[in-house]
C-alpha cells in the first residue's frame, strides 16, 4: 500500500462522432495502477482497448471523466503540454512497430532523447541497441530488418526516454512465436531492471497471465479479471 500511484482514472468516458452518429467507446472506467506494476488489458476486438490505452497515455483528450498521470490531470492539458508529459513519462510499443523508414535503426532510437535535447542521445541509443542484441545493425534502415528485429529496435526506442510507464498495443501481434517470446522476455527484463510500469493490450492469454494484473475490456467497461 506504500507504492506511488502511477495512473488513475475516474469515470473515464470517451465518445467519438463518426458518420453514423455518436459512438461511446468507453463508458465510465475507474482504475488505479501503481508504479512498477505490469497490467494486461484483454478483450474482444473492437471493445475499445486501443482507445483506452491511447487515452491513458495522453494521446488524445477524453470527452468526460478524469485521468491522472503522476499527479498531472491529462484532461485539462493542451496538446503541447501533453506531448511534453509523454516525452517525460511515457514509452510506446506498437503492433506494427512504426519505425521511421527514412532513419537508421540508431537514429530511430535516438529520437526521444533528441526531442528532449539530450546531448548524449547517440551513446544512449547505441547502449540500448546493444541491450536488445542489435549492436551490429546500428546503421541499418528499418526495411533492412526483419519484423522481430524491428520490434527490438522499437523496444530500444521506447526505453530511450527512460519512461516511467510503458504502453504496448499487441507488441507480439505481428510476430511469430519464436520472435514473440524474445520480445516478451526483453520487455519484462527491462520492466524489472528499470522499475517501469507496464500496461499492455494483448490477445495472448499466456502473455496476459505473466502480468501482475489482468483487466478485461468488454463493451466499453473494464473489469478486474483472473485468467
Amino acid at each position: 500500500m506504500d507504492k506511488i500511484t502511477a495512473l488513475q482514472t475516474h469515470n473515464l468516458t470517451h465518445t467519438v462522432t463518426s458518420k453514423t452518429g455518436n459512438l461511446t467507446i468507453l463508458k465510465g472506467i475507474d482504475i488505479e495502477i501503481k508504479e512498477g506494476e505490469s497490467v494486461a488489458i484483454v478483450g474482444a476486438s473492437g471493445s475499445g482497448k486501443s482507445t483506452l490505452l491511447g487515452l491513458l497515455a495522453g494521446l488524445d483528450r477524453n470527452t468526460a471523466g478524469e485521468i491522472t498521470l503522476y499527479n498531472h490531470s491529462l484532461t485539462s492539458l493542451s496538446e503541447e503540454k501533453r506531448a511534453l508529459l509523454r516525452g517525460q513519462y511515457v514509452g510506446f510499443i506498437f503492433q506494427s512497430f512504426h519505425l521511421l523508414p527514412s532513419l537508421e535503426a540508431v537514429e530511430n532510437v535516438m529520437l526521444p532523447a533528441e526531442l528532449k535535447g539530450d546531448k548524449q542521445a547517440r551513446q544512449k541509443a547505441e547502449y540500448l541497441l546493444e541491450q536488445v542484441g542489435l549492436s551490429h545493425r546500428l546503421t541499418h534502415y528499418p526495411r533492412q530488418l526483419s519484423g522481430g528485429e524491428q520490434q527490438r529496435v522499437a523496444i530500444a526506442r521506447a526505453f530511450a526516454s527512460e519512461p516511467k510507464i510503458l504502453f504496448a498495443d499487441e507488441p507480439t501481434g505481428n510476430l511469430d512465436e519464436e520472435n514473440g517470446k524474445t520480445i516478451i522476455q526483453l520487455l519484462f527484463d527491462l520492466n524489472r531492471s528499470q522499475g517501469t510500469t507496464l500496461i499492455m493490450v494483448t490477445h495472448d492469454n499466456t502473455l496476459a497471465s505473466m502480468c501482475d494484473r489482468q483487466l478485461i475490456m468488454s463493451a466499453g467497461q473494464l473489469k478486474e479479471g483472473n485468467l
Partner: protein, 819 residues
C-alpha cells in the same frame, strides 16, 4: 534539432520532394524569365524612344530655361544639353526663306544622333556632334530653296554662318514632322549674335536631361510643381505611345500565359504535398507519441518548407535568368542593338511567386499533417480530415492573388477562374457520363478494353480529377495557340512588312500628279493624299479657350497650338467612328483628344483659319490607330470650310532601302516637299514583335514542362493502387501484355475525353478573351478540334504508360508483402 536536419536531408531524396522542387523551379523560373525579359524590352524601348527625344527627359518652356533648373540638374548629376527652337528668315544669294532653326549646345544630342550628309537629298550618316560655332546645317530642301551649297555662307539675323552639312534628321525634332518650314541646326553660342530673339518672339526653349532613373525621378518630382503654363515635362513614353501599348499588352499576355505554368506547377505541388502528407501522417503521429510537441513539429516542417523554398526559388531564379539570357542572345541576330541588362529589382516577382505558391499549395496540407491526432497510431479512424475545404480555398486565393499581381487587374484572372470552374463542372458531368457509358458497354475482364474502361469507372473520383487536370492542361495549351495566332496576326495587321516608312508633306496641289508619277515609276506603295490646312480652335461653344483653363493648369494639346486640319469624304483606314455620324456638316474629333479637352458630341467649336472664323458642331468622335504609321488627324472638318484655302498635301510611302536613293534623287525636283524617314522607328517596332513572338514560344515550353510534371505527379498518387491491381491480375493469370493493353485503353480514353472537352473549353475561352480583352473579331478555330484530341491521346497515353511502367513489372509476390 540535429534530427530535424537529418530528417529533411533524407526526405529531399523522395520523389514527392523532388516533384515539389521541380514545380517550384518551373513556376519561379517562368515568371522570372518573363519579367526579366519584358523589363529588358521595356528598357530598350525606353532607350530607343529616348533617341527620338534626344534625351531621357526634356523640360520644355516658352520662357528661357531658369538657371536654378540647370544647377539642380547638375546637383543631381544629370547630363544636360539645351536647344532653342524658333522660326526665322534665312538669307542667302538675295533669296530668303522662313525656316525652323534649332540652336543647340555642344553636348546635344544626349541620346540618339543626327543624320547628316555631304550630298543633297541623300540618306545621311550618323553624327553625334552638334554643329561647331560659326557653322550651320541646312536641310536639303532649305539649301535648294536658298540655292546654297556646302561651304557657302548664309545669314541668320545679324550673324553669318557657313553651311557645313546637309541635315537629314535632327533626333529631337523628328516628331514635329508636320512643321511647315524647312529646318536648320546651328550652335547655340552663335545665337546671341543673330539678335533674332526679341521679347515676344515665339521661341521654344528645351532643357535636355539624361542620367540614371532614380536621379531623373527625383528631378521630376522636384520640377513638376514649378511648371507653369507653356512649360512641360516630356518623357520618352509619351513619345512612342503605340509601341508602349504594344509592350504593355504583350507583358500582360505573357504573364497570363506564364500564369498557366504557375497554375500547373501549383497543381503538381499540391499533388506532391498531398502524397507527402499521406506518407508522413503515421510518422508524425509516431513522433507525437515520442513526445514531439506541436511546436517542435511546426518548426520542423516550416524549416523543411523554408529549405524547399530556398532551393526551389534559387533554382528558379537561376534558370529564369539563363532562359531570358538565352532568348535574348537568340535574338541578337535580329537586332541592331543589344538589349540592356535587366534590373535585379525585377527578380522579386519570381520570388513572390515561389513564396505564395508554397504557402497556397503546401502549407495548408502541412498544417493538416501537424494536426494529426497521435491516437491514430493505435486507432486509424482517429485521423483528422476536417479542413479539406480550407485547403482548396487557400490554394484558390493564392492563385487568384498571383494572377492579379501579374496582370495588375481583376479582369483576366476572373475570366480564367470562371473558365476553369466552368470546365470543372462540365468535365465532371461529361466525364461521369462517359465513364459510366464505357463501363456499361463492357462487362467482364477478358480483354484489355474491358479492364481499361472498367477501371476508368471504378476509380471515378481520382479519374475525374485527372480528367479535369488533363483537360485544363490541353485547354490552356490550345488557348495559348489560339491567342498567339490572333495576337501575332493582330500585330502583323497593324504593321505589315510594307508599312509606310516615309512621310511626304508640304506637297502643293499641283505637285501631287508629278510625285504620283515618280511613285508609279519606282513601283512604290503609298497611301492616299490628305489635304492639310493650318488652323486653331479659339472657342468652345461661347467660351474662349484661354478662359477655359485657369492659370497653372496644363492646356489640352488640342488648344495649345496651331494644328493641321483636313477634310475627307469618308472615314479613313484605321479610323473608327465611335459616336455620331461622319458627314460633311460638322467636325469629327479623335476620341482621346476630345476627352482630354472635355469636348462632347454636339459642342460647337470655333476654328480660326487664315484669320477667318468658322463655328461648327462636333458630329462624330473617332478612334484612330496611331500604330498604323499612316497620316492621322485629330480634327477633320467639312470640305467646304477648307475649300478656299491653299492646302498642303501629305501622304505616306513604303520605300525599300535599295529604292531610297533613286527616290530621294527624283524628289530633288521638288525641293519644297519635306520627306520624313521613319524607317528606323518601324524597324524597332518590328524587332519588338519578333522578340515577343519568341518569348511566347518560351512560355509555351514552360507550360508543357509544368503539364508533364502534373501528369506524372497525378499518376504517382494512384500508383500504389495500380500496382496492386496489376499484381492481382497477374496472379489471376493475366499476361503482362493484357495489363499493358488495359493501361493503354485507360489512358487513351482519358486523353481522348480530355482532348475533346479541352477543345470545347478553349473555343469558349478564346471567344471570351478575344471579345473582352483584345477586343478583336471573334473567329472559329478548327485546328483546335484536331489538335486537342490528338495531343490528348498521344501525350497522355505515352506519359501515363511511362509513369505507370512499374505496374507491368510488379511480380505477383507483391500482394503477399505488406507495406
Amino acid at each position: 534539432m540535429s534530427f530535424a536536419l537529418r530528417f529533411i536531408l533524407r526526405e529531399i531524396r523522395s520523389s514527392e520532394v523532388i516533384t515539389l522542387i521541380i514545380a517550384l523551379i518551373i513556376s519561379v523560373g517562368t515568371v522570372t524569365s518573363i519579367s526579366l525579359f519584358v523589363d529588358r524590352l521595356q528598357l530598350s524601348f525606353e532607350q530607343e524612344s529616348a533617341n527620338l527625344l534626344a534625351a531621357d527627359r526634356v523640360v520644355r518652356s516658352d520662357q528661357p530655361i531658369r538657371e536654378s533648373w540647370k544647377s539642380h540638374a547638375t546637383e543631381q548629376g544629370l547630363e544636360q544639353a539645351e536647344r532653342t527652337s524658333f522660326a526665322t528668315m534665312i538669307f542667302a544669294n538675295d533669296k530668303l526663306q522662313l525656316s525652323q532653326i534649332s540652336a543647340v549646345s555642344a553636348s546635344y544630342p544626349l541620346k540618339g544622333q543626327f543624320l547628316v550628309d555631304d550630298a543633297l537629298f541623300a540618306q545621311g550618316h550618323p553624327s553625334t556632334i552638334a554643329p561647331a560655332s560659326g557653322e550651320i546645317w541646312l536641310s536639303s530642301r532649305l539649301a535648294s530653296l536658298l540655292a546654297v551649297k556646302i561651304g557657302q555662307m548664309v545669314e541668320v539675323g545679324d550673324a553669318k554662318l557657313r553651311v557645313s552639312k546637309y541635315l537629314v534628321l535632327d533626333p529631337g525634332s523628328s516628331t514635329s514632322a508636320f512643321a511647315v518650314s524647312p529646318r536648320a541646326v546651328m550652335n547655340v553660342t552663335d545665337l546671341a549674335a543673330t539678335h533674332v530673339i526679341i521679347p515676344g518672339s515665339r521661341v521654344r526653349y528645351s532643357l535636355l536631361l539624361a542620367g540614371d532613373r532614380d536621379a531623373l525621378q527625383q528631378y521630376e518630382t522636384w520640377i513638376e510643381p514649378q511648371l507653369k503654363e507653356g512649360q512641360r515635362w516630356q518623357t520618352p513614353k509619351q513619345k512612342g505611345q503605340s509601341i508602349g501599348q504594344t509592350i504593355n499588352k504583350a507583358e500582360s499576355f505573357l504573364l497570363l500565359a506564364g500564369t498557366l505554368a504557375v497554375v500547373l506547377s501549383g497543381v503538381a505541388m499540391a499533388l506532391a504535398s498531398a502524397r507527402f502528407v499521406k506518407r508522413h501522417l503515421m510518422q508524425v503521429a509516431v513522433l507525437k507519441t515520442l513526445g514531439a510537441t506541436p511546436r517542435i513539429l511546426a518548426k520542423l516542417f516550416l524549416l523543411q518548407l523554408f529549405i524547399l523554398f530556398v532551393v526551389g526559388a534559387l533554382g528558379g531564379l537561376i534558370s529564369g535568368w539563363f532562359i531570358q539570357e538565352g532568348i535574348s542572345s537568340l535574338l541578337l541576330s535580329l537586332m541592331t542593338t543589344t538589349l540592356p541588362e535587366p534590373s535585379i529589382g525585377k527578380l522579386w516577382l519570381g520570388v513572390a511567386t515561389g513564396f505564395i505558391s508554397l504557402i497556397a499549395f503546401c502549407l495548408p496540407l502541412m498544417i493538416r499533417l501537424i494536426q494529426i491526432s497521435p491516437l491514430s497510431v493505435l486507432q486509424p479512424s482517429a485521423r483528422v480530415e476536417k479542413n479539406a475545404l480550407v485547403i482548396y480555398v487557400v490554394g484558390f486565393v493564392g492563385l487568384y492573388g498571383l494572377m492579379c499581381l501579374y496582370t495588375q487587374g481583376f479582369m483576366l484572372p476572373s475570366i480564367m477562374t470562371l473558365a476553369i470552374a466552368g470546365v470543372g463542372l462540365v468535365v465532371s458531368i461529361l466525364g461521369w457520363g462517359m465513364f459510366k457509358l464505357g463501363r456499361w458497354a463492357t462487362s467482364g475482364a477478358t480483354s484489355g478494353w474491358q479492364i481499361g474502361l472498367a477501371s476508368l469507372y471504378r476509380r471515378l473520383t481520382p479519374n475525374l480529377f485527372q480528367l479535369l487536370v488533363f483537360t485544363l492542361i490541353i485547354m490552356l495549351g490550345l488557348i495559348l495557340v489560339g491567342i498567339k495566332t490572333s495576337l501575332v496576326s493582330d500585330w502583323q495587321a497593324q504593321l505589315p512588312e510594307d508599312a509606310p516608312n516615309h512621310y511626304l508633306f508640304n506637297v502643293q496641289a499641283d505637285q501631287v500628279a508629278g510625285i504620283n508619277d515618280i511613285s508609279q515609276r519606282l513601283n512604290l506603295s503609298s497611301s492616299s493624299w490628305f489635304p492639310m490646312v493650318r488652323g486653331r480652335i479659339t472657342k468652345v461653344n461661347e467660351d474662349l479657350v484661354e478662359t477655359l483653363y485657369p492659370e497653372g493648369t496644363p492646356e489640352p494639346e488640342l488648344f495649345e497650338r496651331e494644328m493641321n486640319l483636313t477634310w475627307a469624304d469618308h472615314v479613313g483606314e484605321g479610323n473608327q467612328v465611335v459616336a455620331g455620324d461622319f458627314h460633311d456638316q460638322g467636325i469629327s474629333l479623335e476620341q482621346k483628344t476630345a476627352a482630354e479637352a472635355g469636348i462632347k458630341m454636339g459642342d460647337k467649336l470655333t476654328l480660326s483659319i487664315g484669320g477667318l472664323h468658322y463655328t461648327l458642331p462636333v458630329t462624330s468622335i473617332r478612334t484612330v490607330d496611331w500604330g498604323s504609321m499612316r497620316p492621322n488627324f485629330y480634327v477633320i472638318v467639312p470640305k467646304q470650310t477648307l475649300a478656299n484655302y491653299p492646302a498642303n498635301f501629305v501622304s505616306s510611302f513604303f520605300i525599300k532601302p535599295d529604292q531610297a536613293q533613286a527616290f530621294y534623287q527624283n524628289m530633288s525636283r521638288y525641293p519644297t516637299v519635306s520627306i520624313l524617314n521613319v524607317g528606323d522607328l518601324l524597324k524597332q517596332i518590328q524587332t519588338i514583335i519578333a522578340q515577343l513572338s519568341q518569348a511566347i514560344q518560351l512560355v509555351l515550353l514552360c507550360i508543357l514542362a509544368a503539364g508533364a510534371l502534373v501528369l506524372i505527379a497525378s499518376i504517382g498518387s494512384t500508383l500504389e493502387e495500380r500496382r496492386e491491381e496489376g499484381a492481382l491480375l497477374r496472379v489471376l493469370g493475366a499476361k503482362a501484355s493484357l495489363v499493358r493493353q488495359a493501361l493503354i485503353v485507360e489512358f487513351g480514353f482519358l486523353g481522348l475525353f480530355s482532348g475533346v472537352i479541352a477543345a470545347l473549353g478553349a473555343e469558349a475561352s478564346l471567344y471570351g478573351v478575344q471579345t473582352f480583352v483584345f477586343k478583336s473579331a471573334v473567329s472559329w478555330h478548327p485546328l483546335l478540334w484536331v489538335l486537342g484530341p490528338l495531343i490528348g491521346v498521344i501525350l497522355i497515353t505515352s506519359i501515363g504508360v511511362f509513369a505507370s511502367r512499374t505496374v507491368l513489372k510488379v511480380p505477383p509476390m507483391h500482394l503477399l508483402r505488406d507495406f
